[in-house]
């Protein structure tokens, strides 16, 4: 060991080795990154691409020959066009109203400071993570003829579904737009005002254009969620109303008409791909635009101006009418027993299998199933989604590698848009022999967690990735010059800085898995049914007792999800990461 040049310490043995060793270290790094990309890619290929492609192919190949008559057949039916029209109408209306309702709320929650703001922010987030089935049940209990809003006649109508979709997607708008708004430099607006622009003119010429990337990004994500909504439409639409997504389900499970289902899946994929492309483009612009904004929060105290008063009124209406009313209504109705008396009858019935044996398991057993399944799904999603975020956060020097990284990022957004029903049914079609191996994965208890993980992975990635990308590359360079190898840099720089967002991602993944309905309803066996599946079954069965149980079970599931999200929110802290 040789002493250092200035006595601050001995040299580390082997510290200055050079030449061949250095080159092999570079190769090892490449191999490491390739492996990190390969694990999630294999997961995506086996559990998403293959099932979806296999299902779609089934629609085009009959008796070993390509048969495209399915397209003409399905597109020739007036019913198909009605369904497409309804899907588009539902998506456009849902997106428009979510934007209109979300803007004043975003303004109030991210540009104004007042006591109780963080509580209100948490409340606005709740709908997004609530299981779709719960949302459906909550609104249904409002819309039924003897419900609070029964007089509006929204039961089993497009209007009723749009209201529920706005409720569901409000937080996407508030968080995406608010996140940008919060960091928008107020001096641009002040400069415009100093130049003589009225508040209205400032809004139209400065604020709105600055927010445009976030607005478009939020709009495309909301459009996507509306277009592929399943649970909400199934519960609220009843027999009278349907969309492309529910029709895929109806075609495959009720009529075993795979060909029509495949054509519909492709139509939906086209819409989804278009929405994702727009979203990705604006996201790129938005991340670039973020360099222009100040990083310190610019919220002012709530004033007595007309604008602030309008924002308060609008937020009160949205939060009160759209969030508190259905959730409060659900809670109250859940205490109204089958005989009309107020009490805990519905909750005590959760220990049974329902009126006339509606279920195979008790609701509490289903809750256990849900927790177990969600824990596994969460673990899988965290590994896969975490690796995707890690690889996608790198900025390789070579153009080709850079392109590959952004492709990987985009690929893993796909499960967000592709119908969960398609994924679920694809599993049934392909996983009897995964990769030709004689192991029927369909009977494996791993099946449902894997399907839920496919749905949760994009959320994990989108939560962790922005945080990793925001780490200044020079921080890693400094760590390198201080003697930390690539592995040590990941452990001591990336991991601690992303730790909070990883915690938030765990919460998201867990909450999403708890509420997953589309794929689970296809795959789960009666004896291992999860809570959302059980709730849907209870609604579909006649009997006041079953309905009461569905309400109580929805409250339990909603409370559980809210607790998970609140714990996760605490991890997020002040500086928000992620998109949702």
């Amino acid at each position: 060991m040789t002493p250092g040049p200035h006595g601050l310490g001995p040299r580390l043995p082997g510290f200055g080795r050079r030449g061949v060793r250095g080159v092999s270290a570079t190769h090892a790094a490449w191999a490491g990154w390739a492996l990190a990309a390969l694990i999630p890619l294999s997961f995506l290929a086996l559990f998403f691409a293959w099932p979806v492609v296999a299902l779609v192919m089934r629609g085009f190949v009959s008796d070993g020959t390509v048969d495209l008559t399915g397209f003409a057949d399905v597109l020739g039916r007036p019913r198909t066009w009605r369904l497409i029209g309804l899907t588009l109408a539902q998506s456009v209306l849902g997106t428009t109203f979510a934007l209109l309702a979300g803007l004043p709320v975003a303004f109030l929650l991210y540009r104004r400071a007042f006591p109780g703001r963080s509580l209100l922010r948490g409340l606005v987030t709740v709908p997004f993570v609530l299981p779709t089935v719960v949302v459906g049940v909550a609104f249904r209990s409002l819309f039924v003829p003897d419900g609070v809003l029964g007089f509006l006649g929204l039961e089993e109508t497009l209007g009723g579904i749009v209201v529920a979709l706005v409720f569901f997607n409000l937080s996407v708008v508030v968080r995406t737009v608010g996140g940008l708004w919060e960091r928008l430099d107020p001096r641009a607006e002040q400069a415009a005002a100093a130049l003589g622009a009225s508040p209205r003119r400032v809004w139209w010429t400065v604020t709105l254009p600055s927010l445009a990337p976030a607005l478009v990004s939020a709009a495309s994500v909301v459009f996507l969620f509306c277009a592929t909504a399943f649970g909400v439409v199934m519960v609220l639409g009843g027999a009278r109303y349907g969309t492309v997504e529910t029709e895929i389900w109806v075609r495959t499970t009720q009529f075993l008409d795979l060909r029509s289902a495949a054509v519909l899946s492709i139509l939906q994929l086209v819409v989804v791909a278009a929405a994702l492309t727009i979203s990705a483009r604006t996201r790129g612009r938005r991340e670039a635009a973020l360099h222009l904004v100040s990083d310190k929060a610019s919220a002012q105290a709530l004033g007595r101006t007309r604008g602030d008063a309008a924002a308060v009124a609008a937020t009160a209406a949205v939060v009160g009418g759209l969030i508190l009313l259905p959730l409060g209504g659900l809670l109250l109705r859940s205490f109204q027993g089958p005989d009309g008396r107020i009490g805990l009858a519905n909750y005590t019935a959760l220990g049974t299998t329902g009126e006339r044996g509606a279920l195979t398991v008790t609701v509490w057993e289903a809750l256990g199933n849900s927790l177990r399944t969600a824990a596994w799904a969460c673990a899988i999603a965290l590994v896969v989604g975490g690796l995707v975020a890690l690889v996608a956060s790198r900025r390789p020097r070579r153009t080709g590698a850079r392109r590959a990284v952004s492709l990987l990022d985009g690929l893993f957004m796909l499960p967000l848009g592709v119908s969960a029903v398609t994924v679920g049914f694809g599993f049934l079609v392909t996983l009897d022999q995964p990769l030709g191996i004689e192991y029927d994965l369909r009977t494996s208890p791993a099946l449902v967690p894997i399907a839920q993980a496919v749905v949760a992975v994009p959320l994990v990635t989108r939560t962790v990735l922005p945080v990793l990308r925001a780490i200044d590359p020079r921080l890693r360079e400094v760590a390198g010059t201080l003697g930390a190898g690539p592995g040590a840099v990941l452990r001591t720089v990336d991991l601690p800085l992303a730790a909070r967002s990883l915690g938030l991602a765990v919460g998201f993944a867990f909450a999403v898995s708890l509420g997953e309905f589309g794929a689970t309803s296809f795959l789960v066996r009666p004896q291992s049914a999860t809570l959302p599946v059980v709730i849907f079954r209870l609604i579909g069965r006649p009997g006041a007792e079953n309905y009461g149980m569905a309400l109580a079970a929805s409250v339990v599931l909603a409370a559980l999800t809210a607790v998970v999200m609140m714990l996760a929110e605490r991890l997020r802290g002040d500086h928000g990461g992620g998109e949702f």
Partner: protein, 271 residues
Amino acid sequence: MVSLNSGAGSTVTVTDTGVARHGAGLAVRDAVVRYTRPRDGLWRPARAGTTAVDHVWLEVDEGEIVALLGPSGCGKSSLLRAVAGLEPLAGGTVRWDDADLAGVPVHRRQFGLLFQDGQLFPHRDAGRNVAYGLEAQHVPAPERARRVAGLLDLVGLTGYERRRVATLSGGERQRVALARALAPSPRLLLLDEPLSALDRRLRERLAADVRRVLKETGTTALFVTHDHEEAFAVADRVGVMSDGRLLQVATPDELREKPASRDVAEFLGLS
């Protein structure tokens, strides 16, 4: 002559200029750094990039402080990054004690780096920032604590171990960053505009401190700046860069008296 009893307990003696035996230290030979511009579209060919460092030769002897002086965009930071191993060379070599460093990754070069904005780890307090390089060397905890204390003392921040990074002023951050860069005893310290983000008075005071600390620890240093007063205050020799080329390398006195060209004289404000 300066005698220093540093944290590790051994005494080092260096001359006033810090220059040790000739030939040892950093040698940059005919170095070229190019940036390829990203392609506009998928099918268009890559366009020729810009040459940031254009056939530069430079030597820094052990114990010496050399400043690279030039306007922004002249390639001085690119040269520094190439020496650190953060930027690949398109031509030429970077050598230490006559051994080629091509293929030696950043973390094995033992070259410290100090950025303009410090780049302190936000999730670690001041003391653990300084300790980072020592942890990578697996220095035992008690020894590490003693050396961290010694280094914070050296940069004038005695007792700052538990301070959170967010509570430090700009000048304090740069002092912590300097202590952190010195902790693993780098063979060479690279400083990239370390004082440029600070206000003028603080910059002048810190420039003197940086020179004192580098000399007391006998650290070989390559220092990048666009401020010639700062370069003259800190460095033993100054290299003037323009458009990727190194125009002249000389002591501050020689530069003032005999600028090699009009460009050099103009940049130094002498003409």
